[in-house]
Amino acid sequence: MFREKNEVNSMGDAIVSLIEVEKRFGSNQVVKKMNLEIMEGEFLTLLGPSGCGKTTTLRMIAGFEDASAGVIKVQGERIEDKEPYQRDVNTVFQNYALFPHMSVFDNVAYGLTIKKVPKEEIKKRVLEMLELVQLKGYEKRKPDALSGGQKQRVAIARALINNPKVLLLDEPLGALDLKLRKQMQLELKRLQRKLGITFVYVTHDQEEALTMSDRIAVMNAGVIEQLAVPNEIYDRPKTKFVAGFIGESNIFDGTVKAVDGDLITVETSAGTVQVKGSGFQERETMHVSVRPEYVEVSKEPIPGFDLKGTVKDFIYMGTVVKTAVDMKDGMEVRYSRFEQDYSVKEQETVYLYWRPEKAVPIKQSR
């Protein structure tokens, strides 16, 4: 899961700014005081579980939902009061929303036809666009006669042909099967790099987000929990929610027992653990998150740690095999290896530990 991805291609100024944006449906606050700057040319993903407000945020940028409060700017210009057809953004819809009574050509040409672009130019640009999304020769087909992946490409072409400043994508790959989805992820990413258009991408699939994004905004309950580059989101989750939502984590709730430089000893109901970090005080309640791949196992007690448990079972996951260990408080801690860990047996008592710098200290959220 380790990848370096710190460079964000030619990030300039913010192209989309959300300032204190809120959305309420009746008494239900879907988006809460959101502040977000989307940089020119970046691939930004809004990631979160369903109902977290990510799609609503996207729809507010597109203009399909009115913001209840706050300011939305595109290239410095306020757009909250503009109709969707007046905004320089285009959307790729979750269900594609291809016009069923029009051919692929007419679907892609739609935006240009509305703008009254000359016929020959429309033809030239539509064919170019179809070539770009590898759908040359499909002009005359009706959407019904296309596969899911092809529909997706038409939807992308139909949006991109208008040269939008920002392309909004609402779970565009959700309906595709896994293999096609992976292929389309890479294609989309390449397309975005090639065209240099800002992509705002909504998904609930964390792997998709990690694969494609320059930056990820992890959302939960209408709030951005963390906005960072993918490897920071994965390696340094800032909140308990992010740690739990991205990848698999063992998360311990506890109280700081001792602070020695950057080494923090934390008392949890499962036992004592250690983590490296700063800004924590004694007796403070906090969380410790550790990835299954960093958890070590020993037959003897380890100094600094007191995590005694019983091996419960082995979980075969394809590339890795996880070992589930029951703690004394009933918590299940998992550690993963590339092969089954034959050094331990089911029902055997083991002591778990990790290198303190490999675990992540997380502040108690208010």
Binding site: A62, G63, F64, E83, P84, Y85, V89, N90, T91, F93, N95, A97, L98, F99, P100, H101, Y110, G111, I114, K115, K142, D144, R158, A159, N162
Partner: protein
């Protein structure tokens, strides 16, 4: 290899035979009674009408079973031809007005939440369920010489004397429209209601304003509903005679009235039958067009 294939096809044949047996019996049981009904009460009478239309009229209004194209020639008579044209005109007019009134209403209902929509649909269904004689009579009362409409017009000073509404084409058309409106609204409602909102959003997203979106997306995608409405309004309007009988007071004659009179008081069955055949042909033509359109527009308006 080929041997194997043959074996397979044999097996398939047997399977098919069994399938046919298994599927035919229930299909017959289900479609049989309906088919029998349709043959007895639709096909046979229709064939009989066509047969009669080619016979001639006896001196005493009886049917003389001797072939003659006389009735069809009579149809081309100026008098009858005029009535036919007028009926077509009134039917077209009624249909167009029903669409113009019905579409916005259907659109309005379809965009309301389900419960409100159900209530609004009830509003059109209640008059539809009331006895049509009562409904038509109340129109007469409202529009008669000393009825509320005339009283109101004179009170406001817009007219000096009463206007004759009763027994005019205008009132008949009004009656037709109120009679037919539910048939216009319901198919269009179901078509608009099925229209996925994301098509409209996509259109707006691509730069089309409300009017353009309506013209390029909403209208074509709800066309099957519009066409159903046209058929459901146009065909009955062409043949109906109660409305013109009551609101036209016998002075306003359409095809329907003439057919009724030929079979009734005038007793010229062959001519009545020929007129009926004409109506059937027009109907079939429309339904043929409908199926053509429907197959073209046979898209999922999910």
């Amino acid at each position: 290899m080929s041997k194997k294939l043959d074996d397979n096809s044999d097996l398939k044949q047997i399977g098919k035979k069994r399938d046919v047996k298994r599927k035919t019996l229930p299909a017959l049981a289900m479609a049989g009674p309906v088919s029998l009904w349709m043959i007895l009460f639709v096909t046979i009478p229709m064939l009989f009408i066509i047969y009669i239309s080619f016979m001639s009229r006896g001196v005493f209004g009886d049917v003389v079973y001797k072939f003659s194209g006389e009735s069809y020639q009579t149809l081309m008579d100026a008098t009858y031809f005029k009535v036919i044209l007028k009926s077509l005109r009134v039917a077209v007019f009624t249909t167009v007005l029903c669409l113009l009134v019905g579409y916005p209403f259907a659109y309005y209902i379809a965009r309301k939440p389900k419960e409100t929509a159900a209530k609004l649909i009830m509003l059109i269904m209640i008059p539809f369920w009331t006895n049509s004689l009562m409904r038509l009579n109340s129109w007469l009362l409202v529009f008669q010489t000393n009825g509320p409409v005339n009283s109101f017009l004179q009170w406001t000073g817009m007219t000096d004397g009463p206007i004759t509404f009763v027994y005019t084409d205008g009132l008949v058309v009004l009656g037709m429209i109120t009679n037919m409106l539910p048939f216009a609204v319901l198919p269009m409602y179901s078509s608009i209601e099925k229209l996925n909102k994301s098509f409209l959003e996509a259109s707006a997203d691509l730069g089309a304003n409300g009017a353009t979106t309506f013209r390029k997306i909403t209208l074509p995608l709800t066309f099957p509903g519009i066409f159903s409405s046209i058929i459901l309004v146009f065909i009955p309007t062409l043949g109906i005679y109660t409305v013109s009988d009551m609101l036209g007071g016998g002075k306003v004659l359409y095809i329907g009235n003439i057919i009724k009179n030929q079979f009734g008081s005038i007793r010229n069955w062959p001519l009545g039958a020929a007129l009926s055949v004409l109506l059937i042909v027009i109907t079939m033509l429309l339904i043929f067009l409908y199926t053509r359109f429907a197959s073209i527009e046979d898209m999922e308006v999910v």
